[in-house]
Amino acid sequence: MNTVEEAVELTSRTCVDLAAELRRHDVPVGPEQTTALWTALHRLDGLRLRDLYWAGRVVLVGDRRHFAAFDAAFRRSVLGETDDGDTVEVPHPVAVPMVDREEQAASTPGPQPADPLEDEADEARLTPSDVRVLKHKSFAAMTAVDQRRAAALIRRLEVDLPRRRSRRRVPAARGRHLDTRGVLRAALRTDGEPIRLARRRHPWRDRPITLVVDVSGSMAPYALAVLRFAHALRRAGHDVEVFTIGIELTRITEELARPAVDAALTRISAAVHDWDGGTRLGSSMGTLVERFGGHRAVRGAVVVICSDGLDRDEPELLGDAVREVHRAAHRVLWLNPLKGDPRFEPIQRGMAAALPFVDLLLAGHDLAALEELCAALAVARRPLRTTTTSGRTA
């Protein structure tokens, strides 16, 4: 067995093989990185195995998420451990953390790209009365045909996200700040006499929107509609992050980045392992806080949680997590399909624990409810927000 202090004989194959093995593990390695490693190793006298390990990791891996994949590739390519070896399992040697699984799924090609014109054809066949009926039909009651038609309508939803001032200063016709550069440029044309004072201002920026979608069994039809909505937001050029919660937290923002919504959904279903599974909302949300609490996906963002609040964790877990999210985020909205029923009371224990930290509780069970969400976001866009502090409608 090799030890870390063992001397290594270096050939160019060592680097090339290691890089190739890494690519097999879906770690992006460019040729210039391979060359850099080759150069780097020549700078080390008396190359030992641990030098090769650390140098390889520092040069070839650009993200902590890929460390486990590197370990596996290193064992296989450098130490020559094979699938038969007792330390390595078949076919993916390490227990890859969740994020890496996302990466693997990302490279799996979807079955066949959906025809983008198909949706439009469906849409064209919709009469106004169809639309009216469809708008108030719960996603759970929709047939496959209804769902396709609803998808077309979802794509047409227009969203104005809440904004904030960027810290940048850009030249503008009017603004609070003097644009010294512009003043000088203008003055040079008039022999150094500053006649026109150029201005700068802080431009508006849309806040990012983060959708946290419950994919447990009871939520499946609604989750699909919300994911379509997320896809539409992304296509419209908004800054969208999407997570699924259920048994665990999965980040699916990358998977969503497909032009055709069906291809995106296929990739998402490959990446999300707890689809239709159990409900551990509290701990999934806890993971969100722990891993993304300081990330821009939560901090300063509009967070929309889509769940029926039926949770098998202790309700305090969910309450604590939503409180933390509420602290860091700009606004927290909750879509609860159960609210579509007029007799709804937020009495599910998880829902009740989270409610004090939710700015706005909406239904989100049909198209009309999604429109309501868009309207609520548009209201929050106005800089002077007078309604939002007391805006919780329970």
């Binding site: 080390l44 006298d45 650390w54 520092v58 993200d63 200063r169 000088l184 040079l188």
Partner: protein
């Protein structure tokens, strides 16, 4: 100037000499950054000493530390260069210069990036918390990091005479672009283990008795294992050890730990969580 350090071990030794304890991976990363003239990207939780790496390196290599603290809205005029508009305007109005002569090096105000470029290998450039700057600024850095040169439209291309050592740090509040990652060497700075933290305490807080330092390091390692909103960093460990030494503790007791906890944990919820488990985290002296 080729580095005078021939192996990662020499770098680790040199850094230890000035009070920074580097592990194998970090020593290798620095060694390669110097040898390959590549920027070094350090990621890690808050307070694990990412910024310290750069200042320790500057000291070790005898170079100037040029620091660019990133923040939202940072742009080229604050990071790279700006023109001295007031002087330009006065000189043009005074008639002593025509409009063409006021865009020369004399009127240029170098900002950290340009300063570091011009200093070349006499500088260590620290681009701190790059994740706080926006995407546009990150894109702007790409030319600088791959070619160690920038283009100023009025003057032309300014290239570093020799590449400076560049250290970037990130707290992962935003996903950095792959293009940036590819140009850099990457190292994840983790919280030190109890043994290394003990050695850090001995180096950085020599007034703390060895026995106390050992107990502090062990307790902090246990505290970090508890799920906290913000786990304590190395700086806080040093503060805590100093605080304990100041109140005259010879050994760590749960009572003293509770009394001085505010030096270690800076969040009321976290403090509560630690206080509840104090008996397990800080064992009472036998």
């Amino acid at each position: 100037m080729p580095s005078s350090f021939r192996s990662p071990a020499e770098i680790a030794e040199g850094l230890e000499g000035i009070g920074y304890l580097a592990d194998d991976a970090l020593a290798m990363a620095v060694h390669l950054a110097l040898g390959l003239d590549r920027p070094l990207l350090l990621e890690g939780a808050n307070g694990v000493g990412k910024t310290e790496v750069a200042s320790a390196l500057a000291q070790l290599l005898g170079r100037d530390l040029v620091r660019l603290q990133c923040y939202e809205g940072l742009d080229a005029t604050q990071a790279l260069y700006d023109w001295h508009y007031a002087r330009q305007l006065l000189d043009v109005r005074g008639g002593s210069s025509s409009s063409a002569d006021v865009f020369t090096r004399d009127y240029l105000l170098p900002r950290p990036l340009l300063t570091a470029l011009e200093a070349g290998d006499r500088a260590v450039l620290l681009i701190d918390e790059i994740d706080r700057a926006d995407d546009e600024f990150e894109a702007f850095l790409l030319e600088l990091l791959s070619d160690f040169a920038v283009t100023i439209p009025e003057i032309g291309r300014v290239a570093a005479p020799s590449p400076p050592l560049v250290v970037l740090t990130s707290n992962r509040t935003r996903d950095l672009h792959t293009a940036l990652r590819r140009r850099c060497l990457y190292h994840w700075v983790a919280h030190p283990g109890a043994e290394r933290e003990y050695r850090i305490l001995r180096a950085r807080a020599p007034h703390v008795a060895p026995e106390l330092a050992r107990q502090v390091a062990d307790s902090v390692a246990r505290i970090r294992a508890v799920v906290l909103g913000s786990p304590p960093g190395v700086g806080e460990t040093i503060d805590w050890a100093s605080a304990l030494a100041m109140v005259g503790s010879a050994t760590l007791s749960p009572q003293d730990a509770a009394a001085t906890l505010s030096a270690l944990i800076k969040d009321v919820d976290d403090q509560q969580r630690v206080a509840e488990r104090m008996a397990d985290l800080v064992p009472s002296a036998p």
